[in-house]
Amino acid sequence: MSRRSGLPAAAAALLCAALSGCRGIQSSLDPAGREAAKISGLWWLFFYVCTAVFVLVLAFLFYGVFRRRSEDALGARERGKTYVAIGAGATAAILLLFLVVSVSAGREIAEPAGPDALKVQVIGHQWWWEVRYPASPANRTVVTANEIHVPVGRPVFLELLSGDVIHSFWAPNLHGKKDLIPGRINSHAFTAKKAGVFRGQCAEFCGLQHAHMAFTIFAETPERYSAWYEKQLAPAAEPSTPSQERGRQVFVSNSCVFCHAIQGTPAFGQVAPDLTHVGGRGTLAAGSVANNPGNLAGWIADPQSIKPGNHMPPMLMAPEDLLAVTDYLESLK
């Protein structure tokens, strides 16, 4: 390839990449919710208007560069005044339009969720997300981690809290950012308009593994959501094989229980993700790696090489115990 043809090719590739960035599971330009749609509408409005202004300004610039100085300098100055007046007026009008549109969009986004909204508590920890669904009676409370399931069409009211430092909740396909601040409860409401799986990410630097603090939102039909919820209510699945049985034994007799809980077993630790249904989750360690037996075993044996600095210490156990625990945890769908 000659040097000359390389440049347009690179430019084309860049354009493709830029455009493909608009689509995806973590993009504000691919809205899947009421609020994100407003935000993206606003964004596109800004984009079009700013593009028009940019083109206009450039046009005037070129006009200015290439046109000839007029003979009638005095008349030109008078006309110039008119242009300035028109330009200032138009700019003010555009700015006012922006203000009106963004304020109205902001108001719509900020509308409090109605009484039928689904309430979800999201608690940021270094470096994972605790997700709780408060309920009445209290024993219908669901606790999970790094995954938020919501029904399509129903407003979701998030209570954002932090267990340690400031984090920020950002699922661009559904809504803008909102900080999680220690000692405060911030609220955030969104409504998913279409089913899908969306990625979210901590958007406020919160320490070593800030970049590996992701979460997934599953927007599902109300039926699928209810089915998921009922499944989460159940205690952990009973071991069905000798290996899983042994895995449970290893889990509850090891220091795993110092931090983790598995409902239905004597594991009640409350400073690390609840593992009652860990086998049913898509990723491990807040979106760091895919959830599969290999990654899980690797994570248990040496979490520090997967996510250096995270708060899980390596578990020293015999290889067959490690396999048994992996087997057991993967069975907790």
Binding site: G183, L208, S255, F258, V271, Q304, P313, P314
Partner: protein
């Protein structure tokens, strides 16, 4: 003119050389400390030795004074519920940790052994439950509690934090 420029270069070089030294404390502790090199098995609790006094073995916490280790130790001290009995060093169910009296010895290796083996009057044994590097982090935090020593890693209490208040009659 030339000498001035050389001087400036030297200064930059010196600054660059110093920088990693500052990071050293921190980066060291991100990896697990070389705890295997620390002997804890033969630490005496008693100051009384029959016969001639043996030359003492110096037991040092590899993480002593390391700010990162102390802050990690503080987190673990709460997570593993040390704070439930010893609170912020004043004690309660367990003895205080901020004064100069140590029932089972205040040497870092004594503290380490106390955590690992437990003590008969209520201290649980954490043997096999807490990894070694975390134990030394906790020991580093406990050592930092001494009220008569400056705090190596000061907690930055928010104005509305409980520790920021004296706790007295309201209004």
């Amino acid at each position: 003119m030339r000498s001035k420029r050389a001087g400036r270069q030297l200064l930059v070089c010196a600054a660059l050389a110093v920088l990693p030294v500052g990071c050293d404390k921190l980066s060291n502790s991100l990896h697990q400390p070389p705890s295997a090199t620390v002997r804890t098995d033969a630490i005496a609790v008693s100051a009384l030795e029959p016969g001639a006094r043996m030359p003492g073995i110096v037991h040092k916490n590899p993480l002593e004074g390391n700010p990162f280790a102390i802050s990690e130790g503080q987190r673990l001290y709460d997570w593993y519920n040390c704070s439930g009995c010893h609170f912020r060093g004043g004690g309660g169910i367990g003895p205080p940790l901020m004064d100069e009296f140590w029932i089972y010895g205040g040497n870092p290796a004594n503290i380490y052994t106390t955590i690992v083996e437990g003590r008969p009057n209520g201290m649980p044994a954490f043997r096999g439950k807490i990894p070694d590097y975390q134990l030394w982090q906790i020991v580093a935090y406990v050592q930092s509690m001494r009220a008569d020593k400056p705090i190596a890693s000061p907690p930055g209490p928010r104005e509305d934090h409980l520790q920021a208040s004296e706790g007295k009659e309201s209004r």
